[in-house]
Amino acid sequence: MKKTCSLIESRLLAAERALLALFLGLLIALSVLQVILRGVFSSGWVWADLLLRHLILLIALLGAGTASAEGKQFAIDGLSRLLTGRSKAAAALAAQTFTLGVCLLLAHAALRFARDEFAAGRTLLSIGGFELPQWVFAAAVPAGFLLLALHSALQALCSISDVKA
């Protein structure tokens, strides 16, 4: 089971990393373009600024996913440094289960938030005739917390085999 979990986790991580590189490229390109437009032509695109800000939200959630997978989330982690062997694995399992629970609760709250945004039907930005509704990005928040929940579930499954071993 541990093998399957690590495999899924590494595939997921690869997909997240590819998307992150893409989004970062887009972020850099759009920001530089805006600086040039503002500096040289004293104008800028309002939609580009809004898109940029929401792109960062997506980057934050995906980046948090990879940080979870790579064990790079900020944590205080006082006790588990002192533990070894099975007790360390058990502490890790407890922390991952806690993380899973909180991420699911956050995802649930975020789902209600996204549903409200959908019902409100606000337009975030319009490029020419194309209108992008705000709920698209609002929906990314529950998706992001579900992603974080998935990472901690996979890690918890890995830890179960560590505790047994």
Binding site: V35, F74, F98, L105, A109, A110
Partner: protein
């Protein structure tokens, strides 16, 4: 009762290593729930990330910093600073200070300085005859030197969280930053002279060679730092320009990093950004609750009854921040600023001045035993026992603390430029 239970649960989750964002998010959900407010309030605040001004500076500076750290720019920077300052008494130590400060400012003080520059500088310092303890202490403390100079990420984050002008913060931090750098350089000069360290004579050819090698790196600080101080760029504009410049200079001109490595590097830098921003996003929710419940006001009333004097409050603040920084600098800013800043303002402390105090304090936290991040990194990088490093860092810690005292009690050091 339920508050006690919630606090206990959060503390035990923290102790076994649950990520900080789950503690903040979980606490936010629990507190809003207990106040009869729907948990989506936490997410409304999280979504507010997208409307924070200057937010794009964080991913852009981080990405550019990661690329710089991976390139050979650190080596070129060392060559250049040595050609410039190597002939001074204590020259190499001054080189180390200047190079590390610049590098840390540009890479966001995430500890890469010790890893990237420390390994190069330690053998150089020892070879020139600097005492080992001095060299180790110097390099352990330089890991965070530069936090007070633009485009330091912690300053930007402080500005975002405290809602203070980032431009004013950069101006305010300049004199304290230079004061710290100057005091350390003076100390280095004295130690160098006492140890009878040799000087490298100034060589025009050497300088010309170093300038040629770094020709494409040299404009970067002038564009970014100069642009910010001159008010020509906002922090996010400067970040966009720096990201584009670094990509062009390191990938296309110097070709230090093969193109195929770029996506991986981009993803790695965004993992740090994601980790910072989920903490920031969930903290926004919790902070919103705490401010609504007037927790900072109550804390102020409590503190004020205990100590009405501003000076005492500042001493307590200094001590408190040293402990908080055991966390790690970004989390420390995100969590402590929203609670401390309103209290400090009621004590009559200027929010910009408070920012400089905060950042310098956190910089000291980096080298405070037992858990200061720089000491742990130096322990790994230089393979010296922690005890040795604690002793080695002590004189530098004292100098930093003296400068902190000056910055804390002489607000004009920070405010003369910014106001």
């Amino acid at each position: 009762m339920s508050a006690v239970l919630i606090a206990l649960a959060a503390l035990s989750a923290a102790a076994i290593g649950a990520p900080l964002f789950t503690l903040l998010g979980g606490l936010g959900l629990a507190l809003f729930h207990s106040a009869g407010i729907d948990g989506s309030a936490v997410i409304v605040e999280f979504f507010r990330l997208a409307s924070l001004p200057a937010l794009s500076a964080i991913p852009l500076f981080t990405a550019a910093g990661f690329i710089l750290a991976e390139s050979r720019a650190p080596q070129r920077l060392l060559g250049l600073t040595q050609a410039l300052f190597g002939w001074l008494p204590g020259g190499l130590a001054v080189v180390a200070l200047a190079a590390c400060a610049l590098f840390t400012a540009f890479t966001g003080a995430s500890g890469v300085t010790i890893v990237a520059l420390g390994g190069l500088l330690l053998p150089m310092l020892l070879q020139q005859g600097y005492p080992e303890r001095f060299s180790l202490g110097l390099l352990s403390c330089t890991g965070s030197l530069g936090l007070l100079f633009p485009p330091s990420l912690p300053i930007i984050l402080y500005g975002l969280v405290a809602q203070v002008s980032i431009h004013e913060l950069f101006l305010a931090a300049l004199v304290p930053g230079l004061l710290l750098l100057g005091t350390l350089a003076l100390y280095a000069g004295i130690v160098g002279a006492r140890a009878g360290v040799g000087r490298t004579p100034f060589s025009r050819e050497r300088l010309a060679r170093a300038v040629r090698a770094a020709a494409w790196d040299i404009p970067l600080p002038f564009i970014v730092v100069g642009g910010i101080y001159a008010g020509f760029f906002t922090a996010s504009d400067a970040a966009a320009v720096m990201a584009a410049y670094v990509l062009a200079a390191e990938l296309l001109i110097h070709r230090d990093i093969p193109l195929r490595k770029l996506p991986g590097l981009a993803a790695r830098s965004m993992a740090l950004v994601g980790a910072i921003l989920v903490v920031l996003g969930t903290a926004l929710g919790l902070t919103n609750y705490l401010v609504d419940a007037q927790v900072p006001d109550q804390l102020f009333a409590l503190l004020h009854a205990f100590s009405p004097s501003k000076a005492l409050f500042l001493i307590a603040l200094n001590a408190f921040l040293l402990v908080v920084n055991m966390l790690e600098i970004y989390s420390a800013i995100v969590i402590a600023v929203p609670i401390v800043a309103p209290i400090a303002i009621q004590y009559g402390i200027d929010p910009v001045h408070l920012g400089v105090i905060f950042l310098l304090n956190l910089e000291i936290g980096y080298m405070t035993p037992p858990m200061g991040l720089n000491l742990l990194l130096a322990n790994r990088r230089f393979e010296r026992p922690l005890g040795t490093l604690y002793r080695a860092a002590a004189p530098f810690w004292l100098i930093h603390t003296a400068v902190l005292a000056a910055v804390t009690y002489l607000p004009s050091l920070s405010l003369s430029l910014s106001k």
